[in-house]
Every structure is written in structure tokens, then in C-alpha cells.
């Protein structure tokens, strides 16, 4: 007869086996849909571009070198080129501003919703999610209609006599920023609201009771407690912003490219798949660095209190 210990061990083994079985479908999908394609991208980045797109199976580091350099057409020498770098910079800075501004607008919105009576809260959350119902492209075109030279804003301002010339918003970085704030704001509001809803408002009362004014209560009590929501929201906004494609394409015109557009260019008209692949991986690394920074920042301040 098996001892109790053996039975327990066997049960544990079975438990582990069941867990693997249950997670197998998810693992297969992750491999086929994420890891596999990613591997292909890495391989392509080390190949030679084909004449009409695609790749030729010949090892080359040119794809990677071209990320930040340019090969002279005449003497084949490599020289540093800032064209891509400026696109990297635009992507990072626009994503950063998008994150900061969505936080700026999203925090009060979330606070407002969280302090409503429970029934009304649901209505507000529902309203926040409405933009998700429409395709991103259509929403972006709608934004274009609002800000273009003959659009809603300019027509109204000119009719009111506030401006004589239409404001050039379209095809600028400001247009991209506006579009991204509009599109990503719900992604900031919802996680902050989720943590704010769990916030025990008696702690806020305790803060006031202990002589903290409104600003101090916000800074010393509310903010530290909803920080997980702020971090989640920032990640949810910053990362898709870095890879934004539709918004800069529609609102930024051809000149104000972001990384997503640059990658698309290489796989399309540029016919340089290895470069496109190399930039894609660079973007991924940037995202990972940003994530690490967030996570470290979050756990670091947590430690400061303990």
C-alpha cells in the first residue's frame, strides 16, 4: 500500500501534469502567433533585400547598419545619418507627451467617475468606452475633419473673426499628438479608475482629519495608493504610442513619420525588408527598456516606504 506521503507526491505530480495540459493551447498559440513570427523577423533582419521586396537568403548586416547609418551610393562608405534617429526621437517624445497629457486629463476624469454614486459611475465608464466602438481609422479621419484647414475648428474660428488665416494643425506633430491623446485617453482613464474605485475614501477623510489640505491629501494619500493604476495606464498608453501607425499617417502627413510608418515604408515602397525588420526589433527593445524603467520605478518607490 502506498504511504500517505507517496499519495501526496503522486497527486502533486498529477497536478503539475494537468497544469501543463491545460495551458498547452495557450502556449501553442503564443508560440505560433508571437514567438515564431518574431524569430522570422530576427532572421530577416540579417538577410539581403530582394530587388522587388522580400529577401534574398544571403547573410548581411546592412539591415542593422542602415538603422542609424547610410551607405554612400558612390564610394560605398558608411556615414552616420540622422534621418531615422529623428523619427526615433519624434516617436519617443510624442509618446512621452501623450502619456503625460493623457495622465493630466485622465486622472481628474477617473477621480470624477470614482467619486460619483455607484450607479452613475457605470454610466460614465460606459461613456468613456464609447470611442472603442468605432474603428481607429474612422476616428482618426473624423479628427482630421475637425482640425484640417477647412475643418470645423478653423471654419468656426474664422467665422467668429478670431483668426484670419486657417491654423495649420494638420500635418504637424501637434496634430499627431492631439490624435494620440484622443485615441489613448480611455486607456489611461480606465486603469486609474479601477484603482481609484478600490480606494478607501475613509483614508482621504483620515488625511483631512490629520491636517492635510487638499493638495497634500492628493499627493501623500491618493496618489501613492492609486499608483499601480497610473503605472498600468502609462504603460498602456506609452507602448502603443511608440508603435502608432494610423494616426501619424493620417494626421501627420508624409513628412511627420513615426516608427510605425518608417517600418511600413521599408516593407512597402522602400523594398528593404531587412532594414524594416531591424527597426521593428529596435522598437521592441525600446519598449522593453521603457517597461523595465516603469517597473523599476514602481518597485523602487514602493521600497522607499517600507
Amino acid at each position: 500500500m502506498a504511504s500517505a506521503e507517496e499519495v501526496a507526491k503522486e497527486a502533486e505530480r498529477r497536478d503539475i501534469r494537468d497544469r501543463w495540459l491545460l495551458s498547452a493551447p495557450a502556449l501553442i498559440i503564443i508560440f505560433l502567433a508571437a514567438t515564431g513570427p518574431l524569430l522570422i523577423v530576427v532572421i530577416y533582419s540579417f538577410l539581403t533585400p530582394g530587388p522587388y521586396g522580400g529577401v534574398v537568403w544571403k547573410f548581411s548586416t546592412d539591415g542593422w547598419l542602415s538603422v542609424l547609418m547610410q551607405r554612400d551610393i558612390f564610394d560605398d562608405t558608411l556615414a552616420f545619418a540622422d534621418a531615422h534617429l529623428s523619427i526615433f526621437w519624434r516617436s519617443i517624445s510624442l509618446s512621452f507627451y501623450t502619456t503625460v497629457l493623457t495622465l493630466f486629463f485622465g486622472f481628474p476624469t477617473a477621480y470624477f467617475i470614482a467619486t460619483r454614486p455607484p450607479k452613475t459611475r457605470e454610466v460614465w465608464v460606459f461613456l468613456v468606452t464609447i470611442p472603442f466602438w468605432t474603428n481607429l481609422l474612422i476616428r482618426t479621419f473624423a479628427m482630421q475633419q475637425v482640425i484640417r484647414n477647412e475643418g470645423l475648428v478653423n471654419t468656426a474660428l474664422m467665422a467668429l473673426g478670431i483668426i484670419k488665416q486657417p491654423l495649420q494643425i494638420m500635418n504637424t506633430d501637434a496634430a499627431i499628438l492631439l490624435g494620440m491623446i484622443y485615441v489613448y485617453l480611455p486607456l489611461m482613464v480606465l486603469p486609474i479608475y479601477a484603482s481609484m474605485e478600490k480606494l478607501d475614501f475613509r483614508l482621504v477623510e483620515a488625511g483631512y482629519d490629520l491636517y492635510a489640505g487638499r493638495w497634500q491629501v492628493l499627493r501623500r494619500i491618493i496618489f501613492p495608493l492609486i499608483k499601480p493604476g497610473v503605472i498600468a495606464g502609462s504603460i498602456l498608453v506609452f507602448i502603443p504610442s511608440l508603435g502608432a501607425y494610423v494616426i501619424p499617417r493620417v494626421l501627420g502627413g508624409g513628412k511627420n513619420m513615426m516608427l510605425g510608418n518608417l517600418i511600413e515604408l521599408q516593407f512597402g515602397a522602400g523594398r528593404n525588408w531587412p532594414l524594416g525588420a531591424a527597426i521593428s526589433i529596435t522598437l521592441m527593445v525600446l519598449v522593453m527598456i521603457a517597461l523595465l524603467f516603469y517597473v523599476r520605478n514602481a518597485s523602487g518607490s514602493e521600497g522607499a516606504h517600507g
Partner: protein, 381 residues
């Protein structure tokens, strides 16, 4: 309702008012009304309440849930504002001040400790917000930790300590800024029986040592009786009676007070004659007993007389009342004998137990009940 005061103009955080002329009473509540909701759904949580709370007093607001005791506490703390009336702290009206400008601190029912701070940081928070120098905060926090015997756990997160310890931290945190008045909102209700008894003694000790006025809210009448200097019994947004525990228990003025505090027998009686502070009342059984009357009250022909179960005596012979034993309940220290009177009213007698003998009665026994002099009181109803 928690956000009400936000609409008020706020000033400097250090603008906490300091009493100019300390009077006799710490808190004076004058004609305070508090109405929640609007229009049809309007509810008066407090209906024109007036009460004076003296300095260095352990004052208890006692009543069932929904009686308005917590509302009154929140008005004193500044989390809500009265719809009408004044709240004076040492003679100054504080009713419109936000909580961070009142030298009043609260121990919350749920403790409301800041989970992202350590025990010591929690205790020092109020002082920090008052802009006290670091050294002073450190010294005061150490003093408070010692006062509540929590020195060893100063660096712990509040989630890492037990309920009783959290309770002590909440107390220390509220006492650290040396408030003029400490408000306690059912602080012991989350503790188990033994810990609650310990904390009751602890609270009395703290109040004695600090000399701060305590306003204590509870629905537990026993807690109120054992801890308070004075008690205000509340019901439906009104204060029914204010007095010492002895007053409240032995001289309940109203039916609600008599019923809510301890156990009581209610008897209907006809007033036979009225003397000075005393009446002679004829009970349904025909017996006439002497009963005390609350000051300034003239009873009508018919009145309710109350007798505490321990002030009546069961006899096998004839007493002031007669009836049949319905039930006998053993309580360890004493035995409750439930008697159905011949007038069909219910009456309970509490009898002290002895070690050797039983209570001496059995279910179904015909018994008499004698009511001693000074055992009965006429209610003002």
C-alpha cells in the same frame, strides 16, 4: 456627503484655530440639524440636537444604528456640515471649518490607517502636516509609541499587524497632534470580546493620562455604562437623555432609554397620589407601590412604571404582583426568571446565584413578586 466641505474656501494648513478663552465646555452643540437628500427623499439625520460636552470628559453618544450618533460625530469632525445650528469648540463656532482646520482628531471605526506607510509614519502624519520640525515629530512619535506600547512594531506596515495593534496605532495617530477633542467612532466594534475589554480599560487609561476630552460613539450599552463619565442616549436623530451612567440606568426618563439600556420591566399603573418627586401608583394587580418621578414631570392619571429585573424579588407567597413562572434562564452569575403576570404582562426577575442551591423555583410555579421601595420609576411618556 463625504465631499461636502470641499466646496468651502480653504486656507493655510496651519490655520488650525486655537481657543482664546477656554471655557467650561469643550464642545457645545447648539440646535444642530442635519438633513440628507433633497425634496421628497429628505431625511433628517439629526433633528435639532443640543448638547454640551465638558472638558476632560469621557462622553459617549449611545444609540442604535441610524440614530444619528455617527452623523453628530462627523459634524464635530468636520466631514459633514450642519444644515442648521452651531458647533462651538471652546466658545468658537467651528461648524463651517474644514476638518484640517479643527484641533479635533478622529479614531475611525475601520481605523483608516494609511496602508502605504509604516506604523511610525502613520503616527507622525498629523504632526508632519502641521509643519512641525523633524526632531519634534520624532520625539512625539516615540512618546506615542510608548503610550500605546507599540515601540517594537514602529517600522511595520499597518497590514502586517493585528487588529488590536491597528487599533492602538489609530489611537496613537489621532492623539499625536494633541487634539483638544478626540472623537472615537465605534473603535472597538471590530475587536473580539477579550480584546475589547482590554481596550476599554486602555482607553480609560489614555483618557486619564492625556486629559483630552473623548467623545465616544457606540451602540453597545454595556461599553457605554462602564467607560463613560456621561452618556447621551440618542434615537431617531434626537438626544433623549444626557446623564451619568448611573442616571441613565437608574433614572431613565423615557421608555426608549429604559428599554435600550439594560433589561427592564414595563408596567402600566394608575397614579393614586403625587408627592414630592414621588408618586404612589396602583398596579393592575391592585397593589400600590411607591415610584420616583423625573424632575419637573407631572404624571397624568395613567403612567408606565419601570422596574429593573434585579430590583424585584421573587417570593413563593403573595407579593405586589402575582403570576406564573414561564421560563428560567441560567446566566452563570445570575438566573433570569421570566414570569407571566396574572394581568398577562411579562415580567423578568434577576436573581443572584449561589453555589450550592438552584434558584428555588420551577416552571409553572405560582409566584409573587415584591417590588421594594425606591425600585420603581415613572416614565415620561
Amino acid at each position: 456627503m463625504s465631499g461636502n466641505w470641499i466646496r468651502l474656501k480653504s486656507g493655510r494648513k496651519n490655520g488650525v484655530i486655537v481657543p482664546e478663552q477656554p471655557g467650561k465646555s469643550a464642545i457645545d452643540v447648539r440646535g444642530v440639524r442635519k438633513v440628507f437628500g433633497t425634496g421628497e427623499s429628505q431625511v433628517a439625520a439629526l433633528d435639532t440636537v443640543s448638547v454640551s460636552i465638558r472638558e476632560n470628559e469621557f462622553f459617549t453618544l449611545l444609540g442604535p444604528s441610524g440614530c444619528g450618533k455617527t452623523t453628530l460625530l462627523r459634524l464635530i469632525a468636520g466631514f459633514d456640515f450642519p444644515s442648521a445650528g452651531e458647533i462651538l469648540l471652546h466658545g468658537q463656532d467651528i461648524a463651517s471649518l474644514p476638518p484640517f482646520k479643527r484641533p479635533v482628531n478622529t479614531v475611525f471605526q475601520s481605523y483608516a490607517l494609511f496602508p502605504h506607510m509604516t506604523v511610525a509614519e502613520n503616527i507622525g502624519f498629523g504632526l508632519e502636516m502641521l509643519g512641525k520640525p523633524k526632531a519634534e515629530i520624532k520625539a512625539r512619535v516615540a512618546e506615542m509609541l510608548k503610550l500605546v506600547k507599540m515601540e517594537a512594531l514602529r517600522g511595520r506596515r499597518t497590514s502586517q499587524i493585528s487588529g488590536g495593534q491597528q487599533q492602538r496605532v489609530a489611537l496613537a495617530r489621532a492623539l499625536a497632534p494633541q487634539p483638544k477633542v478626540l472623537l472615537l467612532d465605534e473603535p472597538l466594534s471590530a475587536l473580539d470580546f477579550k480584546l475589547r475589554k482590554e481596550m476599554q480599560i486602555e482607553l480609560k487609561r489614555l483618557q486619564h493620562e492625556t486629559g483630552i476630552t473623548f467623545i465616544f460613539v457606540t451602540h453597545d450599552q454595556e461599553e457605554a455604562l462602564t467607560m463613560s463619565d456621561r452618556i447621551a442616549v440618542m434615537s431617531s436623530g434626537k438626544i433623549l437623555q444626557v446623564g451619568t451612567p448611573w442616571d441613565i440606568y437608574d433614572k431613565p426618563a423615557e421608555r426608549f432609554v429604559a428599554d435600550f439600556i439594560g433589561e427592564t420591566n414595563f408596567l402600566t399603573a394608575a397614579i393614586a397620589s403625587i408627592g414630592k418627586g414621588k408618586v404612589r401608583a396602583t398596579l393592575k394587580s391592585g397593589a400600590t407601590i411607591e415610584a420616583t418621578v423625573a424632575e419637573g414631570f407631572q404624571p397624568k392619571d395613567n403612567a408606565t412604571v419601570v422596574v429593573r429585573p434585579e430590583h424585584a424579588k421573587l417570593t413563593s407567597g403573595k407579593g405586589d404582583l402575582s403570576g406564573t413562572v414561564e421560563n428560567i434562564v441560567y446566566f452563570g452569575t445570575d438566573t433570569h426568571i421570566h414570569v407571566r403576570l396574572d394581568s398577562s404582562e411579562a415580567f423578568t426577575v434577576r436573581q443572584q446565584n449561589t453555589r450550592s442551591a438552584g434558584c428555588g423555583f420551577e416552571r409553572g410555579d405560582k409566584v409573587g413578586i415584591s417590588i421594594g421601595n425606591d425600585a420603581a420609576q415613572v416614565l415620561r411618556d
